[in-house]
């Protein structure tokens, strides 16, 4: 008991140590280099971050970016989940949609940006379209794979115990495909992040973290860029830790199903 705790605290110390070493190296590098605007020392990055926090730019831009991710993901999920389920249950739908999905899946969402900006103009719509495209395919693919992974013995057992169509969906097929659905959601949100940052850089909507980074380039302002990168990293760690990990902990890991959707 105390032994494992000692080992864990040793790990923690090492982790902190590594972060400190990285920061110190950066600081040395920054102080010896010529330009503080290209390689800002930590103090400057901290000041920039604090400044953006205080004057609210960080908040408003983060909210815009998060809002786009959320909206894009929800739209994608609204189509991908029912369609994926249909593909998993009907051979016809599978044969019909799978080729389309497998052709569109490997096209990077950002390849569409120039086209979307021509169709919808630069700005919000084009950006959200990119996010939807990015989020859609990993999700539909995994929902399909998840529904396919439901063991027939579970649906049989449920039917024989009197489960109707709806109960079968809600109480058997849905929880049984959850390992894949969670994996798909994680991938989909990750892709949506890439889409939104790229979209904000290329389709220039008002506000957004991608916008700040991109605009900072004009002013040779690396400290703004690095601050925003830190914020993006933090958001990523928080979503992973408090949303996906918590979700897995409460469901598939508790049920011993975590290994069934490793890819």
């Amino acid at each position: 008991m105390s032994r494992t705790r000692r080992i864990r605290s040793a790990g923690l110390i090492r982790g902190v140590l590594a972060v400190l070493i990285c920061l110190a190296l950066w600081e040395m590098f920054a102080r010896t280099s010529r330009s503080t605007s290209l390689t800002p020392p930590l103090e400057l990055i901290g000041q920039t971050l604090a400044g953006m926090l205080v004057d609210g730019t960080l908040l408003i831009n983060t909210l815009h970016t998060l809002g786009r991710v959320l909206l894009g993901f929800c739209i994608a999920a609204l189509i991908a989940v029912p369609l994926g389920i249909l593909m998993g249950r009907s051979r016809f739908a599978e044969r019909f949609f799978l080729p389309v999905v497998s052709v569109l899946l490997p096209i990077p969402s950002l390849a569409w940006v120039p086209l979307f900006t021509l169709w919808f103009g630069i700005g919000n719509t084009a950006t959200i379209c990119v996010v939807v495209y990015a989020a859609f395919f990993p999700l539909i693919y995994n929902v399909w794979a998840g529904v396919r992974s439901v063991l027939p013995i579970w649906t049989r057992a449920a039917t024989v115990m009197g489960a109707g169509r709806w109960a079968l969906w809600r109480k058997v097929v849905w929880p049984a495909s959850l390992p894949y659905v969670i994996a798909g959601t994680r991938l989909s949100v990750g892709r949506a992040w890439i889409g939104v940052i790229g979209g904000e850089m290329l389709a220039s909507p008002t506000f957004g973290l991608g916008q700040i980074i991109f605009n900072a380039k004009e002013f040779l302002n690396a400290s703004v860029m690095l601050s925003v990168l830190v914020v993006i990293g933090l958001i990523g760690v928080i979503t992973e830790r408090f949303i996906f990990n918590a979700l897995e902990e409460a469901t598939i890991r508790k049920w011993g199903m975590a290994a069934s959707a490793r890819r």
């Binding site: 040793a10 790990g11 923690l12 090492r14 982790g15 140590l17 590594a18 972060v19 990285c22 290209l38 390689t39 051979r91 016809f92 044969r95 019909f96 949609f97 799978l98 080729p99 389309v100 052709v103 569109l104 899946l105 490997p106 096209i107 990077p108 950002l110 390849a111 569409w112 940006v113 120039p114 086209l115 900006t117 021509l118 169709w119 992040w193 890439i194 940052i197 790229g198 850089m201 290329l202 973290l209 991608g210 980074i213 991109f214 900072a216 380039k217 040779l220 690396a222 860029m225 690095l226 925003v228 990168l229 993006i232 990293g233 958001i235 990523g236 760690v237 979503t239 992973e240 890819r263």
Partner: protein, 256 residues
Amino acid sequence: MSRITSICITLLAILCLAAAWEAFARFGGYTPKLTPTLSMIGAALVRIAANGVLWTAILATLNRLLLGFAMAAAIGLLIGGLMGRKQWIEDMLLPIVSFVYPIPGLAYAPLFILWFGLGDVPTILLVGISSCVVIILNTWKGVKSIKPIWLRSAEVMGAGDREMLHHIVLPGALPYVMVGLRLGLANAWRILIAVEMLMSVQSGLGWLIFGAQTFLNTDVMLATIAVIGLIGVLLETQVFERIERATIVRWGMAAA
């Protein structure tokens, strides 16, 4: 369902998709300049293929992809392997790697432009660095997933460090490593196309799309997107499925 029916349904799907696009192109309310018909896209494809633009673009993109991915694989396998074998390295690097992991590689792009200027070098660096993280993580998991009993039995049979690496660690970690490489390549491919638009490189598929936008050549843009999709499918199915079939599937460590 017989093979023939299933092929028919697939053909039907492709037909429907084509028809839907054609209807959108003709009656979608945009000018044909913005939403070209299929025949226009086909003609554009033939045109850029015939005058060689397409081939140089593909070559340039694949070249960068290869360099970037090779870099990512080298860094990823090395660091991931070290993390898997040495506890103190894992303790030190894991927090940093998990922090960097969710940051889209594209977010570094402007920073790289500041530091390294425009052009090929920052593009390849960016592709390499941003796609190595997923390789690191999977290699680390793979090495960790090696059953201690394999290591112990190899040790008992007299395997030294090098034999251990060659005969136990590498094959044992391979299923995860393959997943990591596959994801790494997919990431590299995705980010490369976007970066080619941002970095003002002088060639490549991303550049082709971006350049065509300036002249409203939507037919060229869509033709290029189609080519990008095709290459993506080939990279996914041809490269990795072959390697996997030859290794981990044959060893019964993954389903075919």
